[in-house]
């Protein structure tokens, strides 16, 4: 349940009363609470950004559509379509006639303008609280190459989201995932990367070898994944800019998989299987030194660091079924944190540090859930035939995961940590194993 926190409704109150000072002191600016679930999305208007000068072409309209798709896609906001607008923005600098926007019940108004000179695109925008007639934050301008127009739209979206919610944004980010094709029995699985909204898909491997579970580095410049290029699962580290890659942590006669970066990007934690047992190891990337972190004779896998790097959450079947455990980053005694019914796996620590997302299977159904880092307050956000592998948006408010319907192809989905706004992320074909990058900005 999301609450629109406008206390009290300033426009109405101010009009109805002579506004004693206590009342004014209580009244707050437009603010969307993302953690409480929305009862009613906030209506907003975003007239097409003005194209200033002859070179701007349709960049204004295209940027506006990307911003609107981002904002409406959160489920926290609802766009009032241009066909319902009763006013036009004819100049970016002219004062806004708020009455025109109140008339269509817009609570937020975003105005903008674009200019193109040569290869440079200039985007300016402002955000207004329509009821109070106040601008929210300073107007901003962004400059960049024209081919970065989508990223600039994402940055504007992040600014608007951030000003309205008080949270950091997540739109200027990317997702690595596995693009799947071919028959189930001999699936082709390629590592691919795309913008968080499914645009600009690029393939990072050619699909000649089965690959799975790619993971972004904390800087967003490198990717880890597991591939069967040699016939055995091995961990690869790829530099995104050069596409160069190398095997890391290889130890002949073993299988290595489930890698994840430490928050400082200098080491990698992963699973190594030998002799039927799977333990956790840590590899320092510079020195190549390897440390064994667990040794229980059980399956210990899917490790994920806390954002401060001090602790690791992972899954283990050391007590029978798969459950979640937290231990110090250097190894040592692990504390079980999952206590509900069913099997728990693929835990991922929120970038905010407050929650752990996980996959749970129970009674023939699979769920994505979140719990506090001590295992309390477990909440299941989804349920289906097969949901698995959560990944956090950089702001820790949205989770993306893999969903597979019975007999269907896998798709990428996202859901708010409130359990609301379940959405499918567009991909060129079947897709699985998403991993969200940090905010690029």
């Amino acid at each position: 349940m999301t609450r629109i926190a406008r206390r009290p409704f300033l426009g109405l109150m101010a009009g109805a009363f002579a506004a004693p000072s206590q009342l004014l002191a209580q009244s707050g600016p437009l603010r969307i609470e993302v953690t409480e679930g929305v009862i009613e999305p906030v209506p907003y208007a975003i007239p097409d950004f003005l194209a200033e000068g002859s070179g701007a072409g349709d960049y204004g309209a295209r940027i506006t559509r990307v911003i609107a798709a981002n904002l409406s896609g959160t489920g926290l906001m609802r766009e009032i379509p241009a066909s319902a607008h009763v006013a036009r923005i004819s100049s970016f600098e002219s004062p806004v006639q708020f009455a025109d926007w109140r008339a269509i019940n817009a609570q937020a108004l975003i105005t903008g303008a674009v200019q193109v000179s040569g290869q440079n695109l200039n985007v300016r925008f402002r955000l207004f609280d329509v009821s109070s007639g106040q601008q929210m934050g300073d107007g901003l301008q962004l400059d960049g190459r024209t081919d970065l127009w989508r990223r600039m739209a994402h940055r504007v979206s992040d600014q608007v989201y951030s000003r309205l919610t008080g949270e950091s944004g997540y739109f200027d980010s990317r997702v690595v995932f596995i693009a799947e094709s071919g028959s189930r029995e001999n699936r082709r699985k390629q590592v691919a990367v795309m913008d968080q909204d499914g645009e600009n898909v690029e393939f990072l491997t050619d699909g000649s070898a089965l690959s799975f579970a790619p993971r972004f580095s904390p800087s967003g410049e490198r990717v880890l994944f597991t591939s069967y290029e040699t016939g055995f699962p091995r961990i690869y580290l790829m530099d995104l800019a050069s596409r160069r890659r190398q095997v890391i942590g290889d130890q002949p006669g073993t299988m290595t998989f489930a890698p994840r970066f430490a928050p400082d990007g200098n080491s990698v934690i992963y699973s190594l299987s030998v002799g039927g047992t799977t333990d956790l190891y840590m590899l320092e990337l510079d020195s190549g030194r390897r440390y064994q972190l667990t040794q229980t004779g059980a399956i210990d896998t899917a490790p994920s660091y806390s954002p401060n790097g001090n602790r690791v959450v992972f899954e283990s079947d050391r007590q029978g079924t798969s459950q979640l455990y937290v231990m110090p980053a250097g190894g040592g005694s692990a504390e079980r944190i999952s206590h509900g019914q069913g099997r728990y796996s693929t835990p991922v620590w929120s970038p905010r540090g407050d929650l752990i997302a996980f996959t749970k299977s129970h009674a023939g159904r699979f769920h994505i859930g979140v719990m506090r880092t001590d295992g309390s307050n477990e909440r299941l956000l989804t349920a289906s035939f097969l949901d698995e592998g959560p990944t956090w948006a950089p702001n820790g408010r949205v989770i993306m995961f893999t969903r597979e319907a019975a007999g269907g192809d896998p798709v990428l989905m996202s859901v708010d940590i409130t359990g609301r706004n379940l959405r499918r992320i567009p991909t060129p074909g079947p897709a699985s194993d998403p991993s969200w990058s940090p905010l690029m900005s």
Binding site: L210, Y228, P233, M255, G275
Partner: protein, 165 residues
């Protein structure tokens, strides 16, 4: 090399599809080779042929959910595999561990590794030289039967003993 191997495997699968094996394909589509050369499967009537091993001896055993325990039936198949491997020492062995789709990806890789290891240990206890055997896990990535039903999941929780020269 990879292309050649895949083509050879595919040809072998097609050739065998007409045989009596109820599940059709005899390999699990491992894609790239595992550093082990691929050879012709031969005729199942030739007791030293790979085709004989796959079809008459039985190249696979099945497991119950989340388990790597070898059932009585599995043990009797593996005893026959060990006996055949002792007689045919020219072959190398790759044991593939597989899981059904009702689990998460990483756990299933680890579970497949545990299953492959259980089979390896059994074969070594039966006298097969450990140096001839390698293991690999495919987790849930290579189902033989892709259907969202129990009967398919039962087929997919398996180890496959792949012999080659």
């Amino acid at each position: 090399m990879k292309l050649f191997t895949s083509a050879a495997l595919l040809a072998a699968v097609l050739a065998l599809a007409a045989c009596s094996n109820p599940r059709g394909g005899m390999t699990d589509g491992t894609g790239p080779d595992n550093g082990i050369a691929t050879t012709a499967l031969g005729d199942p009537s030739d007791p030293t042929s790979i085709a004989h091993f796959n079809q008459r001896v039985g190249d696979r055993v099945h497991f119950v959910v989340d388990s790597s325990d070898l059932t009585g039936e599995a043990q009797s198949i593996l005893r026959a595999q060990a006996a055949w491997l002792e007689r045919n020492s020219q072959y190398q062995v790759l044991i593939e561990g597989h899981a059904d789709e009702r689990g998460t990806r990483e756990y299933n890789v680890a579970l497949g590794a545990r299953r492959a290891d259980a089979v390896q240990r059994f074969l070594v206890n039966q006298g097969v030289q450990s140096g001839r055997i390698r293991t690999v896990s495919y987790g849930k990535e290579r189902p033989v039967e892709a259907c969202p039903e129990q009967r398919c999941w039962d087929q997919n929780r398996r180890s496959v003993t792949v012999v080659s020269r």
